[in-house]
């Protein structure tokens, strides 16, 4: 069992901003990671994920605000061997064998593991004798991972760790990662694969245009986005229905109604409370035909949240669902 030990902070961003020229890579980030959490950092390309991780690891200095790891400067935590990291931009040493590189990583870690153990943990025992410069992309990723877990770290930071891995390797990778988390380590990973965040993380952070726009369990994020979709048809023979009624359903986030020449209307509702909506439909005396209620994936939830955020900052105060409705009806 993973436990949360009181108010210890593994990592803390306080009012952190960083820009490159005119681009705000990270703006006003406030965030605390606690021991034992497995945290997914989600965001589209350019959302500031890699920049945030660079700041966290002390590879870059924030323009404003402060970043702490284990209550001190990032560099001190890294030198104490408390952090293992695998970055997209992290390269490997050429002209050496995998076993030599892993042995090196173990040797320089203040609390290094045995190289054989690390090779086994990362699932690369069979690559030990290979030259680093002759590996495939997925194999390279696993060597990078081995470097990140070469010692007894308290925090493991991974930036899109499964890029280039095929499905079976990816599953094995996450099994290893879960074992690390179960051993009490805090794991922070950035990913494009929403199902990874959904199935592995117990906390999901959504980063968009340098801002943290959602922070919660994946269930909470989905709920926030209006996480279920209700679809049905209304036939004219069942009596007239006003759209106003549909819009007033309790959990509705977005509404889309399309009509056919024969008068049949298809209704699609995105709802935070599908149960209440369906109950209300029947209470209002409607006869929804072909009723379907489906769960939204985290992916759609994510698109909804980032879309809402975009709408909000471009000054359209309509909910994203509304503007999407308008767009869809116009087609």
């Amino acid at each position: 069992m993973r436990t949360r030990t009181g108010t210890d902070e593994v990592a803390a961003f306080r009012g952190v901003s960083k820009s490159y020229g005119t681009v705000d890579a990270v703006s006003g980030l406030d965030l605390v990671l606690r021991p034992g959490e497995t945290v997914a950092l989600l965001g589209p390309n350019g959302a500031g994920k890699s920049s945030s991780l660079d700041l966290l690891l002390g590879l870059r200095e924030p323009d404003r605000g402060s970043v702490e790891l284990f209550g001190g400067p990032p560099r001190a935590a890294i030198e104490a061997g408390r952090v293992g990291a695998m970055l997209q931009s992290g390269g490997l040493m050429n002209d050496v064998k995998v076993a030599e590189l892993v042995a090196f990583a173990c040797a320089i870690h203040p609390r290094g593991h045995r190289p054989e153990q690390v090779l086994a943990d990362a699932g690369i025992t069979e690559l030990a004798g290979r030259r680093v410069d002759r590996l495939s992309g997925g194999q390279e990723q696993r060597v990078r991972f081995a470097l990140a877990v070469a010692g007894a770290n308290d925090l493991i930071v991974l930036d899109e760790p499964t890029t280039g891995m095929d499905v079976s390797v990816r599953q094995a990778f996450w099994a290893t990662m879960r074992a690390q988390a179960d051993a009490g380590r805090t794991v922070l990973f950035a990913t494009h694969y929403l199902e990874e965040a959904d199935s592995i993380a117990d906390r999901v952070l959504v980063l968009h245009k340098g801002r943290l726009i959602a922070d919660g369990t994946s269930a909470e994020i989905k709920a926030k986005a209006g996480a279920r979709r209700i679809a049905f048809e209304l036939h004219p023979s069942d009596g007239p229905v006003e759209e106003r009624l549909l819009r007033s359903l309790p959990g509705t986030v977005s509404l889309d109604v399309t009509g056919r020449p024969d008068g049949v209307r298809t209704v699609r509702i995105r709802s935070t409370d599908a149960d209440a909506d369906v109950a209300a439909l029947y209470r209002a005396g409607l006869y929804p035909r072909g009723l379907e209620v489906t769960g939204l994936g985290l992916e759609q939830a994510f698109l909804t949240i980032t879309g809402e955020h975009d709408a909000a900052i471009t000054g359209e105060h309509d909910a994203a669902g509304r503007s999407e409705f308008a767009k869809e009806s116009a087609r």
């Binding site: 660079d54 690891l57 590879l59 870059r60 200095e61 890294i78 030198e79 104490a80 061997g81 952090v83 293992g84 990291a85 970055l87 931009s89 992290g90 390269g91 490997l92 040493m93 050429n94 002209d95 050496v96 030599e100 590189l101 090196f104 990583a105 040797a107 320089i108 870690h109 203040p110 990078r144 470097l147």
Partner: protein
């Protein structure tokens, strides 16, 4: 840190390009020069086999050091290995020190190979002078290691590789590597570290002692290159 240095040395010795360009190439050129001059002397009356033994040893040493530091550092900055190392407990300077240390070790074979050919071809020196010459050339190579580190942090590999080749070839051309520097050009050659480096061998000629002017000049270049390397390194670690 010793682990890093050991690994750096191992991988350099394993690199085929290193073997080609810093061991084989100067050795072959040396053999070629000996046969081209067929036992004669170069301008100034120095036997060709002695003259080119020194100039090819320095040519190999400078090549070993510049490719070992400048090109590798720029390539590894680009590949992200430098970043990866910053995420380890190693102090930031360990990487640069490791590069310089491995350069220092890898210049020795470059010098030794050419010296061995020289000995076989009949260059005769007292044992103390063999050792003294090897030591002088070895220590002199540190100047170029510092230059290599500075170049490695100065730019991207695409720019660094041609820059290294041009700097290296020009310094060699006007530094007495291919032919003795003519008297009219000696005034300029004092500002060429390769020329000063070649001058270190002067003490092995009869009646001459160590060229202290060359030593002072090289020391000056060392200070300048180390300072440049330090500035460029700091700039790089801020923008990692």
């Amino acid at each position: 840190m010793t682990t890093l240095i050991r690994l750096e040395i191992l991988r350099t010795l394993r690199n085929k390009r290193y073997l080609m360009f810093t061991l084989l190439y100067p050795a072959l050129l040396y053999v070629f020069f000996i046969s081209a001059y067929s036992g004669g002397t170069v301008a100034g009356g120095v036997p060709a086999k002695s003259y080119f033994m020194v100039s090819m040893a320095t040519f190999g040493a400078v090549g070993a050091v510049l490719t070992g530091s400048a090109q590798r550092i720029s390539l590894e900055r680009k590949s992200g290995w430098v970043r990866q190392l910053r995420l380890t407990a190693l102090p930031g300077r360990a990487y640069t020190l490791g590069k310089i240390a491995s350069c220092a070790v890898t210049t020795l074979p470059a010098i030794a190979v050419v010296f061995a050919i020289g000995a076989v071809e009949g260059v005769r020196l007292p044992a103390a002078q063999w050792l003294g010459l090897a030591l002088a050339l070895w220590l002199g190579s540190f100047v170029f290691a510092a230059l290599g580190v500075a170049l490695g942090y100065a730019a991207e590999p695409d720019a660094v590789q041609p820059a290294v080749m041009i700097v290296y070839m020009l310094m060699a051309l006007f530094g007495g590597t291919w032919f003795p520097v003519s008297d009219s050009l000696k005034a300029f050659a004092r500002f060429n570290p390769v020329y000063l480096y070649n001058q270190l061998a002067g003490f092995t000629r009869p009646g001459q002692s160590l060229d202290t002017g060359a030593v002072a000049g090289l020391a000056g270049f060392l200070v300048v290159f180390v300072a440049a390397a330090a500035v460029l390194y700091r700039r790089d670690s801020k923008a990692a």
